[in-house]
Amino acid sequence: MKVEQISIFIENKSGRLAEITRILGDAGINIRALSLADTSDFGILRLIVNNVETAKKVLKEKGFTVSKTEVVAVEVPDRPGGLSTILQTLDSGQINVEYMYAFVEHYSDNAVIIFRFDETDKAIETLKSTGFTILEGDRLYSL
C-alpha cells in the first residue's frame, strides 16, 4: 500500500539539482514525480523513481545524503473539487498531511497525488474505507 520515496539533502548552491538529475540519468533512472522543499540555506528534493535501490546507491556513492521514506499514492478524481474531497476525509479522520505533491502521469482517468502523513497506516485505512484508491508501489514505479 505504501510507496517508497527517496529524499536528498541539498545545499542552496548552483548546480546541485543539475548534478543529481545527471547522476540519475546516467544510471538510467527515470524520475516519476518530484517535489522540492527549500529554506534559505538548504533544500530537500523528494523523488519517486522507477528503481529506488539503484537511485539511492548511485547518489550515495557521489556523496549525497539520501534517505528512504514511505509515502502514499492516492488516485484523485481529475475534476474540480477532487482533491478537496480527499482532504476533507483526512481532516475528519484527524490525519495531518506533512506534505504532498502531484504525480506527473495519470492513472486511468484520474490524477495521482503523493502524500506524506504523520500517521501513514491510519491514513491508508481511512482513505480505503471511504472508497479512495491507493496505488501500489510496483504499479506506480512503472507508470
Partner: protein, 433 residues
Amino acid sequence: MFFNEEFETLPRPALEALQLKRLQSVLERVYANVPFYKGSFDKAGIKPADIKHLADLQRLPFTTKQDMRDSYPYGLFAAPMEEIVRIHASSGTTGKPTVVGYTHRDIEIWSELMARSFVSAGAHKGDIIHNAYGYGLFTGGLGAHYGAERLGASVIPISGGNTKRQIMIMQDFGSTVLTCTPSYSLFMAEEARAEDVDFKNLKLRVGIFGAEPWSEAMRGEIEEKLNLAAIDIYGLSEIMGPGVAIECIEAKKGLHIWEDHFIPEIINPETGQLVAEGERGELVISTITKQGIPLIRYRTRDITSITYEPCICGRSHARISRMSGRSDDMLIIRGVNVFPSQIEAILVGIEEVEPHYLLVVNRVGNLDTLEVQVEVDERLFSDEIKILQKLAKRIEKEIKDMLGVTCTAKLVEPKTIQRSEGKAKRVIDNRIL
C-alpha cells in the same frame, strides 16, 4: 611502564637541580654562540651567571616566532653547520617557514623522548606502529619514526594520504598503534565505513594523536569509532617536534612534559607575567639540552595550564592540560572569546552531528557575525524540513547557552567542508580589523 625509569620518576628536588644545571649551561652556550641571545640578554641587562635559581628564568626575555623569522634561516643556530645532521621547517602561515636544525645528539634525545612517549601511551617493543604523520620537512613523521625504532617497535612509515591504502595496510599488516592527527583519524573512520571495514576487526590498540588541538568529546568519538585508546601528544618543531609532552595511559589526565629537557612556564599572554598553577595561559618553553637551536622562553602561543601534582603513573614530570586553542586563533566575536575547540565540544555533544565544522566570521556594519557550518550526518537526515530546522536551532541555542555568543548554524552536505590530512582548517575570518 617506563622507557627511562630513572629520569621519568626523578624526585622533584633532583629534577629541579638538574634543570638548573642544564639551564645555566645552555644560557652560557647561547650567549656565546647566538648573537640574537647576546643582544637580547645584554638589552635586558642580564648575564647567564645572574641565573642562580630556576625562578630567575622569569628575568630573561622571551623568544618569539617573529624572532625566528627575523633570523631566517639559520640565525638562531647555536652549533656550527658541520654539526647539524638534520634540518626541519614548519610551514609558515605567512611568508617564510621557521627553520630548525638538529645535531646528532639532538636526534638521539628526540628519539628517546619520543620512545618515552610511546611507552607512556601504552605502546611497547613488539608493537606495529602505523605512522601516518607526514614525512618531510614537517617533524611529525620522522620524529615518531625515530622514537618507534628507538623503542624497538616495528614502524610502518606510511606517511599521510591515500587513505584507502592506509586502511588496507592497517588490516593486512596488523598495525597495533596508530599515529596521526586526530582529524585524520576520524577521516579514516569515515573512509573505513564507506569501505565496509569495521575497526573492531583491526588490531589497533592505541592511537597517538597530536599536531592540532582537539577536545575531550572528540576523544570519546575517536575511541568509539576506531576502537582504541586515544592518547594526546604535544610537540612543536621549534622546540623539538612530537614528544615534548604526552598523556600517560594510566591517567589520561594531562600531558607529562619531559622536564629534564624542557622547562615549561605558563604566562598571561597579555602581560607576560606567570599565572598561578592550574590557571590557563600561554605555554612558554625553554629547551635546556638542545644543541642545534636551543630556545629560551619560547612563546608557543598554545593555551594550557600546568599542574605539579603527583600522577598515578609514577612520573614526576609536571602535566600540562589538553591545549584549548592558540592564543592567536582565539576568536573575539562581539567581545566574547571563543575557541574553535569549545564549539567542537558542543557539536560532538549533539550526537547527530559529525564533528566536521567550519567557523566563518564576518563583520557586517560594525557587528561581527559567526556562522557555524556543520555537516549533516546520513542517519540524522529527514525528509521533513522542520526537523532539520530544529537541529540548526538547537546548535544555535547550545552555542548561545554555553559560550554566550549568537551564531547562525548552517547545515551543509557531507564532505563539503575541506578535509585536511594534516591540520584541520576550522576558521575562516573575513573581518578586516
